[in-house]
Chain length 278, copies 2
């Protein structure tokens, strides 16, 4: 996510955070304790993976200048500089906002933790857990992937593997070329699914997960005012991927995700080429 309008919402969110800090409740303390132990060391979250790759599924949408954005404005311009016919070869330049297309939110996007280039490569490869919430997303565009959904997934498919990458599959990627992807109401509020705060808190406290992915425009659901998931997940020095494609081609477990995040120094995120090896 981000861009215009976002700022007011963020200001509110920051106010909310200050309030929580001032309240000094047990939850706030626990959260602070967690933030004190970010996941930096590759050893922490990587264990050998055995895989037989029969297919490579592209989790990346084609990126065009009209690709939908969180703020609603165009975030990519492609300028043709040289052409084969005239110059002997083809070459373009891009002007691009880091949070465009299938892209990473690096920890640094909402914290002072790692920029995209500093994420250890081992933290960009891991067993992919696909949590299907299509049924409730079809009934309610503001649907959240909750702790209950994660527990349900585990009852059916087993414990979320060590070092996993957990993806929300809401089915929203099929709307990517329509206004329903942003799904803006008359009050200019967006409506699409996202992770719930309780889900990411549960993951942080109970499982060893490298990153999360959503097939919508934001880790938080559309109407979020406080960006609670961004403010919980990214400061733990973990990353997220937004606008993931083709999760419907994957089984609930068994694939390995490879997240080709940007290596631009100081990046808060950026277009990422993501694959599932299956």
């Amino acid at each position: 996510m981000c861009v215009p309008k976002c700022q007011e919402k963020l200001a509110q969110a920051l106010d909310r955070r200050s309030f929580l800090k001032a309240a000094g409740g047990a939850a706030a303390v626990a959260s602070t304790a967690f933030l004190a132990t970010p996941v930096n060391a590759k050893e922490e979250l990587f264990r050998p993976l055995e895989l037989r790759v029969r297919q490579v599924i592209d989790l990346t949408h084609p990126l065009t200048p009209d690709f939908p954005t969180f703020g609603g404005q165009q975030q990519l311009t492609v300028k043709n500089v040289f052409t084969l016919k005239k110059d002997g070869y083809n070459l373009n330049e891009w002007q691009i906002n880091e949070h465009t297309g299938t892209h990473m939110d690096a920890p640094f996007h909402f914290s002072d933790k790692d920029t995209a280039d500093l994420i250890p490569p081992e933290n960009l490869v891991g067993p992919l857990v696909v949590v299907d919430i299509r049924d409730k997303a079809a009934k309610d565009p503001d649907a959240l992937l909750t702790e209950a959904d994660l527990r349900r997934w585990e009852r059916r498919y087993g414990r979320i593997p060590f070092g996993a990458i957990v993806a929300m599959y809401s089915g929203w990627d099929e709307f990517v070329k329509t206004p329903k992807f942003r799904n803006v109401d008359e009050k200019n509020v967006m409506h699409f699914p996202g992770f719930s705060l309780d889900a990411v808190e549960w993951l942080l406290a109970n499982r060893q997960v490298k990153g999360i992915m959503v097939d919508t425009l934001s880790l938080d659901h559309g109407p979020s005012q406080d960006f609670a998931v961004h403010f919980k997940w990214l400061p733990s020095n973990r990353w997220g991927i937004e606008c993931t494609a083709n999760l419907g081609k994957l089984p609930p477990r068994g694939a390995v995700a490879v997240v080709g995040g940007p290596k631009v120094a100081g990046a808060t995120g950026g277009p990422s080429r993501c694959f599932a090896l299956l």
Copy 2:
């Protein structure tokens, strides 16, 4: 590669091509026949891969605005738009030439074949063959990876696997932060290693290879006037990666490369996050 100065060289190369076509020799005919059968279908070059991933090696250099370029000019600008302290989150915009940093040359860069976004994902994952030519590169900065080097590699390590990605390891990546990476002489000619035309012709005729990688600024060596390797390899609808990092951390065979090329529609190439799974 590309950018300024390149154009004159290319004009010469195009002249040379016209000459070859006019000559109409057997070689030219064979070449045309090959060009008529581009590799588009994923079935053609993908076979199941078995792997145990113990390490993820990053084949990508950190990309900074001062990263060396083929043309010598700056090709990346990072503009900070929002900051955590002031705006509640961090966000940048980039202006970037597609041929910057560790990047892909898509077939379309030097032909009318596939743009980067159209390359089948299966063609971006394959067994990585690392051909070490450091000895001759240390003696001669214009060294070429030749057909003889490929045959020597095969005598020692076995046949180049079906669907492989073949990397030239000249050791040049260690100079990436020094003028020696471009290595320009007093006549403004660059000197660094690259593939030879005979090597790529041999690969095209005799092995099933998806892409090639170099740890220098160009698939062709520095003093190339005709970009013969670009003009042979890319029109076969295969891709190349330039400015690859960390090939020295890999064995000659046994790793699997995952090439996170750009998914920008119509891209002639672009910054690519490349990993070796080992």
